[in-house]
């Protein structure tokens, strides 16, 4: 029973981690919270609904379509809503934040308009397949979600730590001027980052659709807030923190529902944040010195 809940928690947590990675990457290079990230995630989920339930195509096509659409959204977000505000004199440092809130409202309304309110089922052929190990029941879907999430995290970690483009991203995140003096085209790096972050959100959208079988236009908001909670928990802009924080929150929420009061499920994230901020204001993995000072 406990093991089963742990598996549920890790499945949910690995999705949270993917969402939080998108937040943390953008925060790292731009120093802003991308409030549209949750809605990009929601659009990814709807692309999944469209491809699998409406068009009846296989799941892998849903992944490709969601990645393509959310990557494009990321590109547009950067070019239309963020870049024009950057480095302009007299533009408040809050402007890009507000701008992403605008995009989030736009995307939510758009999907409301196109898909309608309410829940949309996310069908896939193996949603009900389960394996029985002793007294424990595991759904194949859970394993798939977990494997995809962990693989994404490993790929991203490798990319950031070992490849030239990944190092350029980290250099840009630490100091934009220094990175450009070292030959990094920081505009391009920022665009790439927002695209990757958005595509991660899109993938997470499909994973949530697979896990919960239901998708609606409001789901972006709560996921966005949780992603935000996780990066505060893990340390702003910190990649390891996003992963650990996501898994932690997933397990904590699942345990509360299983052994406590399910009504407190969504409160867990925010109660955890309050405690972390009181005890370790820089987040679990954050450094003492303020990296967010830019």
């Amino acid at each position: 029973m406990l093991l089963e809940q742990l598996i549920n928690g890790l499945t949910l947590g690995s999705i949270y981690a993917i969402v939080a990675l998108g937040f943390t990457l953008v925060f790292g290079v731009l120093g802003i919270i991308n409030m549209a990230h949750g809605e990009i995630f929601m659009i990814g989920a709807f692309i999944g609904v469209l491809v699998t339930s409406v068009l009846g195509l296989p799941l892998w096509i849903a992944f490709i379509a969601a990645i393509a659409v959310t990557a494009l959204l990321g590109y547009m977000l950067e070019r239309i809503a963020l870049r024009p505000l950057r480095g302009k004199q007299g533009v408040s440092h809050l402007a890009p934040l507000i701008s992403t809130i605008g995009v989030s409202i736009l995307l939510e309304n758009l999907s409301h308009h196109i898909f309608g309110a309410g829940n949309h089922p996310f069908r896939n052929s193996f949603a009900e397949i389960q394996i029985q190990i002793g007294s424990i029941t595991i759904y194949i879907v859970q394993i798939l979600i977990f494997v995809i999430s962990i693989a994404l995290m490993l790929i991203l970690s490798y990319w950031l730590s070992k490849t030239k483009a990944g190092k350029a991203l980290r250099a840009t995140a630490e100091n934009l001027e220094t990175a450009s003096l070292l030959g990094v085209n920081t505009k391009r790096t920022i665009t790439t980052t927002v695209i990757i972050a958005s595509a991660l959100g899109g993938i997470a959208g499909i994973l949530v659709g697979m896990a919960f079988n239901s998708v609606n236009p409001q789901m972006g908001l709560s996921m966005g807030l949780k992603g935000l909670a996780i990066i505060i928990l893990g340390g702003m802009g910190n990649v390891k923190g996003a992963m650990a924080g996501g898994l932690l929150l997933g397990v904590a929420e699942t345990m509360i529902v299983a052994y406590g009061d399910s009504g407190y499920r969504d409160a867990v994230a925010f109660i955890t944040i309050i405690f972390v901020l009181l005890l370790r204001p820089q987040g679990l993995f954050g450094k003492n010195t303020s990296e967010a000072g830019r």
Partner: protein, 236 residues
Amino acid sequence: MLKVKGIETFYGKIQALKGVSLEVEQGQVVTLLGANGAGKSTTMKTISGLLKPKHGTVEFLGENITGLRPDQLLRKGIALVPEGRAILSTMTVMENLEMGAYHRSDKNIKKDIEEVMEQFPILKERSEQLGGTLSGGQQQMLAIARALLSKPKLLLLDEPSMGLAPLIVADIFKMIREIKAAGTTVLLVEQNAKQALKVADYGYVMETGKVIINGEAKDLLEDARIVEAYLGKKSS
């Protein structure tokens, strides 16, 4: 090699440079002196593309490079080691060096990094350590080594000796001599006027956004105005 003509650079409404002109010949070390706030760093940032001048032009190897971005200028051969070193403190010493060669795609990068590490054993010893954990002097070595890995034609150094102990300062000036000997042109901003003029071929002195004196370094070392303002600490 480098021709700066009448550049005027602003921070918002504040005019920091009021028409600065200077030239750097290939193979020379040229030093730029001046009191705090004279505009030396602003000049360096304008040449390297971090700031864009409102008026005036910068020419490099006969090409007008005014207004290009730092990454574009690095590809043309201009590298800046900024004031305060700008080490990537969350990346390892090795990664800092690799970033130095970021724009290169030739096969010698590994070999060049090896060579740099032979030259600075401390960097080899600390190669897996985070850049931010190095001492000030070590960070300055790393910053210069990193800039050299981009294989610049013109190296801009902004106060490399700032805040370092005299022994380390001597090391830094020795390095500058070696860089010159290896054929790289250097534009050096310094507070340490005497030492700077000793390594330099030519010198400029700035005051409140303008060049007020220029001449051969050996002449400037004798120049009464400079001796009085920057070298005149003999009594103390």
